[in-house]
Symmetry: C2
Subunit: 368 residues, 2 copies
């Protein structure tokens, strides 16, 4: 019997509620596939700040490193919102663990469940067949470059009055671009064989380097994959215009942050989308949505994105494709039977089919 150690990071808001359902599903899968999952809980984000003063305590990093995979729920909330550059912020926990574990590849699959096709604000014929994988570089760019604030700089204020100034740095090395490009091409080979590389090469030097390296990697080792370049502003348009045309979309960290959320919204059901962050060691899995502080603690949050992040964990970290397929099938069946949490219900959902977090987790388990 295989045994895997999983580090659980519930984080903030609805995090603890939804991660419990992820664990429920893991346990059910373990029983069916004769695999043992051992769990170690650790603190991250606002929850960690409240207890330790830091968003990513050393103990959490150690627990993550000692595990075979990390399951995260969500971090952040108004309680910790601040623009004071010296105050700890929940997001630093997330950014810190990505950097410390070297999770340079963020995979965000964007797919539509048939039962939820009507949730999109786009016309049905436009979202029909949407199935793309956003490959976002996750440990470089503006997120991790040098940044600083200068107070009371002469001439930074209005009319030369004293004022402040700040900068962030967007930096990329050939190495960082090359490895994410390889990931995108490898993934495209297992899909429809097409990569759209997104940049702003008509303005940014990092984008011109990006474009050159992506093409070199392509020409040297992946000439069988179709490669197209698209400017980031044009991509923001085409995602709405012809979303079904995209297969694999690869881009740098900040563009990826914006475009992956845009693409997620195209489905109309953000509560259904999971993500995987991969590096050369332990990987991390999390829902694409946030911590939803407004509905935290009420037992009504949608756990399906968390459950689908477990699906990705089984697929990418444990090579358990059958078990992963089981989860996807179970989720699909539950939706086809009409079960909905509040965020994905619509005018046609009968009141007795609107369920809470735990019940939704139970329904998925029952279908495994």
């Amino acid at each position: 019997m295989n045994t895997y150690k999983i580090c659980l990071l519930p984080g903030d808001g609805i995090g603890p509620e939804i991660i419990a359902e992820g664990v429920k599903v893991l346990n059910a899968v373990g029983a069916k596939y004769d695999t043992a999952f051992e769990y170690a809980d650790a603190l991250i984000g606002g929850a960690a700040i409240d207890v330790t003063g830091e968003p990513l305590p050393q103990a959490t990093l150690e627990a993550a490193r000692a595990s075979d995979a990390v399951l995260l729920a969500a971090v952040g909330g108004p309680k910790w919102d601040t623009t004071d550059p010296n105050a700890p912020r929940p997001e630093q926990g997330l950014l810190g663990i990505r950097k410390e574990l070297g999770l340079y590849t963020n995979l965000r699959p964007v797919q539509i469940f048939n039962a939820l096709a009507d949730a999109s604000t786009l016309r049905p014929e436009i979202v029909d067949g949407v199935d793309m994988m956003i490959v976002r570089e996750l440990t470089g760019g503006l997120y991790f470059g040098r940044r600083e604030r200068f107070y009371d700089e002469p001439a930074a204020g209005v009319d030369g009055a004293p004022g402040q100034r700040a900068y962030d740095t967007l930096e990329y090395s050939e190495y960082e671009i090359e490895r994410i490009a390889r990931q995108a091409f490898e993934i495209a080979r297992k899909r429809r064989g097409k990569v759209t590389s997104v940049d702003k090469a008509n303005v940014l030097e990092t984008s011109r380097l990006w474009r050159e390296i992506v093409h070199r990697v392509h020409d040297e080792a992946y000439a069988d994959v179709q490669l197209e370049d698209l400017l980031v502003d044009n991509t923001a348009m085409q995602l709405i215009n012809r979303p079904a045309d995209f297969d694999v979309v690869v881009t740098e960290n900040m563009f990826g942050d914006i475009l992956s959320d845009e693409a997620a919204q195209i489905t109309g059901s953000l509560g259904m989308l999971a993500s995987a962050s991969l590096g050369d060691g332990v990987a991390l899995y999390e829902p694409s949505h946030g911590s939803a502080p407004d509905i935290a603690g009420r037992g009504i949050a949608n756990p399906l994105a968390q459950i689908l992040s477990v699906e990705m964990m089984l697929r990418y970290s444990f090579d358990m494709a059958d078990a992963a397929d089981d989860i996807r099938r179970a989720v699909t069946e539950v939706l086809d039977e009409g079960w909905r949490t509040g965020d994905i219900k619509d005018a046609e959902t009968p009141a007795d089919h609107v369920v809470g977090t735990e019940r939704m987790g139970d329904l998925v388990v029952a279908h495994l």
Copy 2:
């Protein structure tokens, strides 16, 4: 009789064809409102590179500075595409003139013409009532910060092999943020009184400065305007989810580039959207779409965004609101009568109502 000097910058691709229709409309308006428009043509973009080797020749800048307003069509095309950081690129002409004329405010109205409501890929009930003004900071941020490329840096390549490295700098001063914030609040007062300020304050230092200054300006002088902060990734979602909720959206240069194109695509008819770039002196007006090199020279391009950029010129530079209203009414009537260029036609458009660039310009003039 008033006389205004207008600097015409046709640029590349369809530029010369559509700007001719803008001039046609200006002349008709001039005759009706007893105003003389004098024109000076100048080179910009690829057209300027071909003749002078530079995307923004000194003579062009002088012509722009000597004018009362600048009418630009579009720049760029595959002919001048390159990732060589030392080669001249058409876009440098556009960025150069924005910087040289101090055009720090970019206004991009996003509205739906009733006759074209079906062009959107979004559901009709979602785009119904969309009417927002994107206020994009245009002379700061990543577009104009220090950037550099390093060749053959040790350890920048794979496995420590030699490779390259590049960076761009996102920089903002209090002064730059303050003046664009003021513009946004002033505009909101003349509209529905709501400003959405977009940043990435959970990651970027420039965004934290942005948020602080926007709130200071608001609290000091515009407390009557409703102000909300929205993270850029969330904004990319909400623009698709509830576009009609936005009134004025203010943001920094790169976020504005991406979000204004996304918002434009929500209308489904990019060929209808104009923009104004304002500073403390001469202003510049241009369509939101690009140079469409694939259809250049065929007389089929849609001139309406160019014509609507003339509308903005009359409104913002010449205080000719009646004439501006006339143009908008004329365009609306032409569309209501069913006339379409190829880009905005649909399955229901009768073949004899699909018209070319010149004919569309003539139709607008006939309705003035």
